[in-house]
Symmetry: C2
Subunit: 176 residues, 2 copies
Amino acid sequence: MGVDPGAANLGFGVVRVEGDHMVALDGGVVETPADMAVEQRLSRIHEALAELITWHEPKALAIEDLYFGKNVRSAMIVGQASGVALLAAAQRGVSCFTYTPQAIKMAVCGAGGADKKQVQRMVGMLLGLPEPPSPDHAADALAVAICHGARIAPASALGPSPVPRPGVATEERLAG
Amino acid sequence: MGVDPGAANLGFGVVRVEGDHMVALDGGVVETPADMAVEQRLSRIHEALAELITWHEPKALAIEDLYFGKNVRSAMIVGQASGVALLAAAQRGVSCFTYTPQAIKMAVCGAGGADKKQVQRMVGMLLGLPEPPSPDHAADALAVAICHGARIAPASALGPSPVPRPGVATEERLAG
C-alpha cells in the first residue's frame, strides 16, 4: 500500500505483486476540506487509512520521503498527515517504508527526473490499467506502492516468505 | 495542555487557570529512542498523549506552530509527532490551538525574542514552582500551555463557560 500525503487530498494505492508483475487492487484519495480544523482533518485521514488497512491487510505501507519546499504552511499539514498515516499502519502491525521522490521515479520510469505525466502513464502501464490513473495523488500513491513492490519482488522469487528490509531503494536494486 | 513536539523528546505540560494566575498540574517528556522505527515512535507518542489526555481531560491542547529550519530530517519527525498529538486530542474531543514561537515568548516573557533560559525562568515563576522546570521540552510545553491560558483567561472572567477561539494570539490579547 502506497500513500501520498497531500494536504487537501491524501492519495492511497494498493498493489499486489503477482510473480513478475503487479496489479492494482485499490486507489483513490481521502479528501478533507481546507476550512476544517487541522486536528479534525487528521482524524478523518487516520480513520480512512485505518479502514483501508483493515480491509486490505497490506504487507507494508510505503510513503514518499518528505522534502519541505517553500510552502511551509502546506509542508506542516503534509508532515502531520504522514504522521497519522504511519500511526494507522503501526497500530495494525504493518511495517512502514519511505522512498525518496527520485527512487520512486526511478522505479516507475527508469529515470529519477521523470515528470508527473510520465509517472502517471507508466503507473497505468505497469499495472495494466486501461488508462493512466487519476487523480494525481492516487497515481503518486500507486507509484510509491510500485516502488516498494519492485524492491521486494526479487526477494519474493527466492522463497515463500520474503521479509522486506527497511531503507531507501537503490537504483541497482530497482533496475534488477 | 501544552505540547512541544520534539523529535526524541516530546514535551508536555498541563496547567490550570485559577482566577488571575495559573498552576502546573503535570509536565514531562515522552522519550522515544532514535533507533526505533518512525512508525513505532509515533505510536508510542500517540499512546502516551492519549493516556495523558484521558487522565487530565484538558479543555484544550496548545502546540507550537512549526517552522521548518535547516534540519529537514528532524523537521519531518517533528511534523509527524505534531500530527499524532493533534490526532490524540481530536479523538477525545479536545480542541487544538497553535501559537507561533513569538506569541509564546511574548505571553511568557513579554518579549517575542526572549531566549530559552528566560522562558524557563518565567515559566517557573508564573506557575509558582520552586525552580525553573526542566527538561527544556517540558518547560517549552508549559510555556505553550501558559500562552493559551493567558489568551482565554480574560474571557473566563466574563462568563461561566468561555469558548476559546482558534487562531494565533496577538500581542494585544496576550498583554491584556
